[in-house]
């Protein structure tokens, strides 16, 4: 029975992907991509990875979806188009891509057996951190360096986006709402945020022991903030404002500070003293959740459009 479900899921994923590529209308292609993200979340569940499923649905599908839909609306009719590839050219590209897929497929079929795994190593560290969710333990203890660098990459991307602001608007307010706001959107923006904030905080809190965690919680909080800004209930903050900058940098700074304190109080960089491991990890996660929420919302909001008031 599950096999039938798996095959249907794979067929759905591939059909949607092909549809996204072939559909001439940009808007329906992006909506198909949103559906693709949701189905992909189901695939991750089937791969026994609920944490990844939550992240994929929230960020990969939802976050990227709203980003692309806003971009489509902004560049409609005046987007830059390259010259179309000729028919034989397309055929050649298709053959090349199929060859790459076939090679990857062969690699999948000839994976080493028994499979190499780091699960025992991760499980060993689990008891020392006091966490119950192995993925959270890997993200914040076993491979904390990756997570730290990733936070910096997100901030770098945000700096890149902000630097596209016109000179006069530097440090000003991004334009999030566009034109007339439909009534249902304004209604949802009043009703949803209380629930969304509770769900976000819950996801962050259970992330220590159950599927959930910083990124998923941050994305839900970012979505709520964006909803309020899209409906015009609150204007976006000035990108030069101190509270926003503090929220953005606070997570990585606290992470780095605790990482360096590891030299003095534990075994080295990014090591936690054993007795304090769980409280420290929770503190880092809380600060990171806020940073992720602010960074993701600002990435969607885009560069400043209006000059700062001062």
């Amino acid at each position: 029975m599950m096999l039938l479900f798996d095959i249907a899921l794979v067929a759905g994923l591939l059909t949607l992907a092909v549809h996204v590529v072939r559909e001439p209308d940009e808007r329906s292609a992006i909506i198909a991509f949103l559906a693709f993200g949701l189905l992909l979340g189901l695939a991750w569940i089937r791969l026994a990875a609920p944490d990844v499923a939550l992240t994929e649905i929230a960020i990969g599908g939802g976050g990227t979806g709203i980003l692309l839909l806003r971009a489509e609306a902004a560049v409609r009719g005046r987007g830059k188009h390259e010259e179309s590839v000729t028919r034989p050219g397309k055929l050649a590209i298709a053959v090349g891509c199929a060859a790459i897929s076939a090679g990857l497929g062969l690699a999948v079929l000839s994976f080493a057996s028994p499979a190499p795994t780091l699960a025992p190593a991760a499980a060993e560290g689990l008891s020392a951190t006091g966490l119950g969710n192995p993925v959270t333990a890997v993200l914040l203890a076993y491979r904390a360096l990756d997570t730290l660098l990733e936070k910096v990459v997100v901030l770098l991307a945000l700096i890149g986006v902000w630097s596209l602001a016109p000179d006069a608007a530097w440090g000003g307010v991004p334009a999030v709402r566009s034109g007339e706001i439909p009534q249902p959107l304004a209604y949802l923006a009043r009703i949803l945020p209380p629930f969304g904030v509770v769900i976000g905080v819950y996801m962050f809190w259970v992330g220590a022991d159950a599927p959930g965690g910083t990124f998923q919680a941050g994305t839900v909080l970012a979505a709520m903030w964006l909803l309020v800004m899209l409906a015009g209930l609150r204007s976006p903050p000035e990108t030069a404002g101190l509270p926003l900058r503090l929220a953005l940098a606070g997570g990585p700074i606290l992470f780095l500070a605790i990482a360096f304190l590891g030299f003095a109080f534990a075994d080295g960089f990014l090591a936690y003293p054993k007795a304090l491991a769980k409280p420290l990890i929770l503190a880092i996660e809380a600060a990171l959740t806020l940073s992720v929420a602010a960074a993701l919302a600002m990435l969607v909001a885009g560069p400043a459009r209006r000059a700062p008031t001062r």
């Binding site: 992907a17 791969l47 990969g60 999948v108 699960a119 991760a122």
Partner: protein, 100 residues
């Protein structure tokens, strides 16, 4: 034959196919926005292959190896950041030139 139908192999193959479909969009699409979407499909395919690796690495009481899972979560967030930067560049490109 039954080996090929396990979830890890099935979704691994699906990921391999998605890489090809995404790459095709990146190389052959005339619209730049569609190329960004193609990049995301390509990335999703790679993550799915990695997910198949994680599923096969089950052990120590976990249903899947947590290390690749954590790396994929990191990857999804980085992919989103890259898409956001690409979209911002695309919007800037579509704006009427002020110096002309």
């Amino acid at each position: 034959m039954t080996v090929a139908l396990q979830p890890s192999v099935l979704f691994g193959l699906c990921g391999a196919a998605l890489v090809g479909i995404g790459l095709f969009a990146v190389v052959s699409s005339p619209g730049l926005l569609r190329r960004i979407v193609g990049c995301n499909i390509l990335g999703a395919g790679i993550f799915l292959v990695f997910g198949a690796v994680a599923r096969r690495g089950a052990g120590a009481g976990f249903e899947a190896d947590p290390v690749p899972q954590a790396l994929v979560i990191t990857g999804i967030v980085v992919a989103f950041s890259a898409s956001a930067l690409a979209v911002a560049l695309l919007k800037r490109l579509a704006e009427p030139r002020s110096d002309a």
